[in-house]
């Protein structure tokens, strides 16, 4: 909400510097987002009277003027402007002055134009940053000609209305009453402890026989409708003070009657509309919902086809306004309008918002209604103010005919509480007199009964319901600096901390961090095209993703069902930025549901995705997965598997018992190629939720074996088709004393023959009850070799 300091001063006699007022507003809950001095670019510009105009001796298009700048002396100005004349009073930027120029600031210096000295420059309205509404004539092509009675040598800024500060205030959603100049003035008066001068709302009434009957068919959507008939209307221009104020707020003047409606909206926060009564057929106003397909053309000549949830203002025959949004073209104020029916209503904020959004039609009025206009106070005061202004401006005669239809009880809210209750919320004692004073200044009517009191809530304060609201009113005016920090002095001691699952998550991340992985964080949604990138078939369960109804864009429109696409995008982005190698992981939810149309909350399931590229291979990634499992003492196994997005020969599924809990492998070379990934990338996705269910809860100590272990290396030549798992399993099966059989080398060479490989394993023998003699180990070794020969046709190398 914009607040010009000059306008504010009409209601509060506040004279502190603008910066200080900004701090005061801030302290009571109104943050000034921007404070602008309107004249900041216009410096050193004064008024002067042209007393002499002569042609430039060497330039046909230049004029040399002698200017009387009052106390600043006589100046000589050379100008190219053609609208200057002897006797004209004009703004002059003297040596060292600044003016606005093409969106920036221009510095003016004394100089010579074709050999003739010019001690400055005459200014146009544009150079002062003003339009006709600030000062008539500001938009002419040439120099701004000032009124004949303008004093000479005076600073131009107050004269053209730019010696002013504009506060841009963030008003919180609970304070629609402060979406007006007068509403903010109330707060300023309260925080500065100054009296508030209310705007004049009195007006005289002329008799009339005209009656425009008002019927509200939708009292819920229109809790109040006030109408008033004004006759003898003379459409014309508004006076300078009014036009200037509209201009300060960024509005253009239209005509006196229309300007009054806009003025009241800004000043009192009441959106108003003026109908040309002549066009109100049947002298009737009916507030009703539109019929399906009904049409209206608004003031800006746009036609809308309506739906039954659009609220309309109709006359006896047809729609004449889109309620709260904009008037109809058929009843607008024209130059020859001679009688007006004013509307000041309260429309339900939701209804206006829906209509405005669905039709894409916004206005200052709809913006105001969307914040909420109280039905009891604002329409009444708004109408009175408008009628007063009609009379003051002499542009019409208010009559004694007014309609007022309301469906809300005309009662004031009362909060009954005690001073102690407020103290209990705040934790400090605020003296009774302070409480009474503050609430009084905010127009609460206080009735004190000892330690208790009742407060009648002002009609415009819809937000105040109970004593905590009063506590807030008190402390924001009393000052938050009075709060004395305490540390739960009277509260119960509680035990805090992470749940076991949360602690495990932290540990899992640490384990991956230790494997060299960096934690990534991606959005929870991505593009449905990401499923195509993974070449998932049409019926893949991953494609059953929950859709966002109103996504930012198609790219962020479905909830993740797998984390792989995000990780893949991370790898691609990194490689494109020249990060040729890296390791990333993300632990986050996927969102799973049976049908994509949600009937209940979907399952949010923690998944873990790993990505590795540039350096390292499948077994580095596998090592990380194994390390994670080991950190939690979980037994997992790996089997050859397939995924459409992984290399068919370099893919494994991860199993925990019989349950599949994940997959890992090399990104399919075709996909890698398509993404211009030159180095190999590896991906793993684990069902963390399933895995974590088997996480060891605690550490249980196992006794150390009494006898030392014996290690022996074994190298066997086997066929290419024999897997490491087969060899290991065969060894472990052959001899119970082998506790570990770890592959440490695979060798292929000519001397082994085509289709053969040599596998070297390190075997660890352990025996709980007796020491292992070299002879025993030799015996075991022989048995193992025998089994390998028999089962896998392996030969000892």
């Amino acid at each position: 909400m914009l607040l010009p300091y000059s306008w504010l001063k009409e209601y509060v006699n506040v004279s502190i510097p603008a910066e200080e007022l900004k701090d005061k507003l801030f302290s009571c809950g109104f943050e000034v987002e921007e404070l602008t001095y309107l004249g900041k670019d216009v410096e050193g510009v004064y008024t002067g009277k042209i007393v002499k105009c002569e042609k430039h001796p060497d330039a046909d298009r230049l004029t040399v003027c002698g200017v009387d700048c009052g106390g600043r002396g006589m100046k000589q100005i050379v100008t190219a402007a053609t609208n200057v004349f002897e006797g004209a009073i004009v703004p002059i930027a003297l040596d060292g002055a600044t003016v606005k120029h093409e969106g920036g600031v221009q510095k003016i210096k004394t100089g010579k134009l074709r050999g003739v000295t010019s001690e400055g420059m005459f200014c146009s309205g544009e150079e002062l940053g003003i339009n006709d509404d600030f000062y008539e004539g500001a938009e002419v092509n040439g120099i701004l000609i000032l009124d004949g009675d303008t004093p000479l040598g005076a600073d131009i800024r107050p004269i053209v209305g730019i010696d002013d500060y504009l506060f841009d205030i963030a008003v919180t959603a609970n304070r629609p009453d402060c979406m007006s100049i007068f509403g903010l003035a109330r707060e300023v008066a309260a925080v500065c402890k100054l009296p508030l001068k209310a705007p004049e709302t009195s007006y005289g009434c002329a008799k009339t026989d005209v009656k425009v009957t008002v019927e509200v068919k939708e009292p819920k959507l229109c809790p109040r409708y006030i109408g008033h008939y004004v006759k003898d209307v003379k459409i014309g221009k508004s006076p300078r003070f009014l036009r200037r104020r509209l201009a300060l707020m960024g509005l253009r003047s239209v005509s006196n009657i229309v300007d009054i409606t806009n003025y009241v909206l800004l000043e009192m926060g009441q959106p108003m509309h003026a109908f040309d009564r002549k066009f109100l057929h049947g002298d009737r106003i009916i507030v009703r919902c539109a019929e399906e397909g009904e049409k209206i053309t608004t003031l800006d000549e746009k036609e809308f086809t309506l739906r039954p949830d659009n609220l309309l203002i109709c006359d006896g025959e047809r729609p004449v306004a889109l309620a709260g949004v904009m008037g109809g073209l058929n009843s607008e104020i024209k130059e020859d309008t001679y009688e007006v029916f004013f509307e000041a209503a309260s429309f339900a904020r939701d209804s206006v918002r829906k209509t405005s959004r669905s039709l894409g039609q916004r206005s200052d009025s709809s913006a105001r209604f969307e914040k909420g206009v109280d039905p009891l106070y604002t329409p009444e005061i708004g109408m009175a103010r408008a009628l007063h202004l009609v009379q003051e401006l002499g542009c019409g005669t208010p009559t004694d005919y007014g309609a007022d239809v309301f469906s809300v009880p005309m009662t004031k809210k009362v909060v009954r509480t005690s001073y102690a209750a407020l103290d209990r919320v705040l934790g400090i004692h605020v003296p009774k007199e302070e409480v009474n004073g503050i609430l009084g200044r905010l127009f609460f009517e206080i009735d004190e009964k000892g330690e208790e009191f009742s407060a009648v809530v002002p009609l415009w304060r819809d937000d105040v319901d109970g004593f905590p609201d009063l506590a807030e009113e008190v402390i924001r005016m009393y000052g938050y600096e009075h709060i004395v920090p305490t540390f739960l002095e009277r509260a119960t001691v509680t035990h805090g901390g992470r749940t076991p699952a949360q602690a495990q998550e932290q540990k899992a991340k640490k384990a991956l961090q230790h494997e060299g992985f960096m934690e990534a964080c991606n959005y929870s949604f991505y593009s449905p095209k990401d499923f195509d990138l993974l070449r998932l078939p049409a019926d893949a369960p991953e494609r059953r993703a929950i859709k966002i109804l109103n996504p930012i864009g198609e790219d962020l429109s479905v909830m993740r069902t797998t984390l792989v696409p995000s990780m893949l995008q991370n790898i691609v982005r990194n490689v494109r930025r020249g990060n040729y190698e890296g390791r990333l992981f993300e632990l986050a939810n996927v969102y799973l549901c049976e049908a994509t149309e949600l009937k209940e909350l979907p399952e949010e399931r923690k998944h873990l995705v790993l990505g590795l590229w540039g350096e390292g291979d499948f077994f580095d990634l596998k090592g990380a997965v194994e390390a994670l499992a080991e950190a939690f003492d979980v037994r997992i196994s790996f089997e050859k598997g397939t995924r459409p997005y992984l290399h068919p020969g370099v893919t494994a599924v991860v199993k925990m018992g019989e349950k599949e809990v994940g997959v890992l492998g090399e990104l399919h070379p075709e996909i890698a190629n398509g993404l211009a990934l030159e180095r190999k990338a590896y991906l793993a996705e684990l069902d963390y939720a399933a895995l974590s269910r088997k996480f060891a809860k605690d550490i249980t100590y196992r006794g150390l074996p009494k006898f030392e272990r014996v290690q022996r290396d074994l190298a066997v030549v086997v066929g290419e088709e024999i897997t490491c798992a087969q060899v290991t399993e065969c060894i472990l099966h052959a001899c119970k004393a082998v506790t570990k059989a770890e592959l440490f080398d695979v060798y292929r060479g000519k001397q082994l023959g085509e289709g053969k490989k040599s596998m070297a394993l390190r075997l660890t023998f352990e025996c709980a009850d007796s020491p292992l003699s070299p002879e025993t180990v030799e015996k075991f070794f022989g048995k193992i070799v025998g089994n390998l020969q028999h089962n896998l046709s392996a030969e000892l190398r």
């Binding site: 009571c28 809950g29 919180t172 959603a173 609970n174 904020r349 939701d350 918002r353 969307e370 919320v425 705040l426 934790g427 905590p468 609201d469 506590a471 807030e472 402390i475 924001r476 709060i483 004395v484 920090p485 305490t486 540390f487 739960l488 009277r490 509260a491 509680t494 805090g496 901390g497 992470r498 749940t499 932290q506 991340k509 640490k510 991956l512 961090q513 230790h514 060299g516 992985f517 960096m518 934690e519 990534a520 964080c521 991606n522 959005y523 929870s524 949604f525 966002i548 109804l549 109103n550 962020l556 909830m559 990194n574 930025r577 990060n579 390791r583 939810n589 969102y591 949600l598 909350l601």
Partner: protein, 339 residues
């Protein structure tokens, strides 16, 4: 006897010619081994006359001792030489890069989240994580924000259906906790939240940390006391907090909480835009209607709640100037957040 002398000379010559310990050993075996020449001498003794044997034996033994001594000396010399050679061959270029284990990193948001959890856990807060997909009821209605409430305009919500949405605030978790747990309650609710906002300073997904305390005799002073503690631990020992009025539908009174700028100590700098204060979180006394919605008697209990954006805290703490960096996952960015 001539033979004896010959052997000594022959063995010495051959031994001295040996280049390494292996050939020296072979020479030694040739003379002193089981089938060696000196051993053969002893074996050949039985061929001698009985009376000649002791003298001969003595001489052979002397020869043997002399040879053993000789070999031992040579062995020592050769071993020393060989060690030198071995050491020389193992010489390394110590300026070559070391082989190190590359530790990964945790995301800055995780780091700050963990730090916050540790901090508040120490004050008795339990951690509760609510669902990221929420019903309209938990996200809005129960938090005193019914359907046509103006505060709904404050946040742009992603809807999945008319009833379900992506939570816009971790405050939704408050209700779930209060429905199940009776006071005293002290919970911390971290997690992802979503708003339909995507520009230079907003991400459609970010993280919040919500704190809630409900007990008897809780006041605004307690709120500030706890936040002071938070500011000191999270920013600097000299950090202070400032409350100023604000509005949230689920708290009354509501406050915006500023922390004194740690960068300039409150004197005013570009980071705090010259004000000396940095807006860090929103808070307030839990609205009575919210307590009632959860079956907690507002006449008996009161409480406060606070909520902060974890990204914001992380950005302040680490001096990150662009929120987008936090979801780009550029390893050059992530690798800076080492333990």
């Amino acid at each position: 006897m001539e033979e004896d002398l010959d052997l000594l000379q022959e063995a010495t010559q051959e031994a001295e010619a040996a280049e390494d310990s292996h050939s020296l050993y072979e020479v030694k075996m040739k003379f002193l081994g089981r089938t060696g020449k000196v051993t053969a001498l002893l074996k050949g003794m039985k061929e001698l006359a009985q009376e000649a044997r002791p003298a001969f034996g003595k001489k052979v033994n002397a020869l043997r001792e002399a040879l053993e001594e000789k070999f031992a000396a040579l062995e020592e010399k050769i071993k020393a030489k060989e060690l030198q050679k071995k050491l020389k061959s193992e010489d390394v270029d110590v300026t070559m890069p070391g082989r190190k284990h590359r530790e990964g990193t945790l995301h800055p948001v995780t780091r700050v989240k963990d730090q916050l959890i540790d901090l508040f856990a120490g004050m008795g807060f339990e951690v509760f994580e609510g669902p990221e997909i929420e019903s309209d009821y938990y996200n809005f209605t129960a938090l005193n924000t019914p359907a046509d409430h103006p505060a709904r305009d404050m946040q742009d919500t992603f809807y999945l259906t008319e009833k379900f949405l992506l939570r816009t605030q971790t405050s939704a978790g408050q209700i779930r906790v209060m429905e199940k747990k009776k006071p005293p309650i002290k919970i911390l609710s971290p997690g992802r939240v979503f708003r339909s906002d995507d520009d230079a300073t907003h991400s459609p997904m970010f993280h919040q940390m919500e704190g809630l305390v409900v007990d008897r005799h809780i006041t605004l002073c307690d709120l500030q006391g706890m936040l002071d503690e938070f500011a000191k631990k999270m920013f600097s020992e000299t950090s202070k907090t400032r409350l100023r009025p604000s509005y949230f539908p689920f708290t009354e009174p509501s406050v915006e909480v500023d922390v004194s700028c740690a960068s300039c100590g409150g004197k005013g700098c570009p980071l705090c835009k010259g004000t000396g204060w940095i807006e860090v979180l929103g808070a307030g006394m839990v609205n009575r209607k919210v307590l009632e919605n959860c079956g907690v008697d507002p006449d008996e209990y009161s409480g406060f709640a606070f909520g902060m954006g974890i990204e914001r805290i992380a950005m302040l703490k680490y001096g990150i100037n662009n929120i987008k960096l936090l979801t780009e996952n550029d390893v050059r960015f992530l690798e800076q957040f080492k333990d």
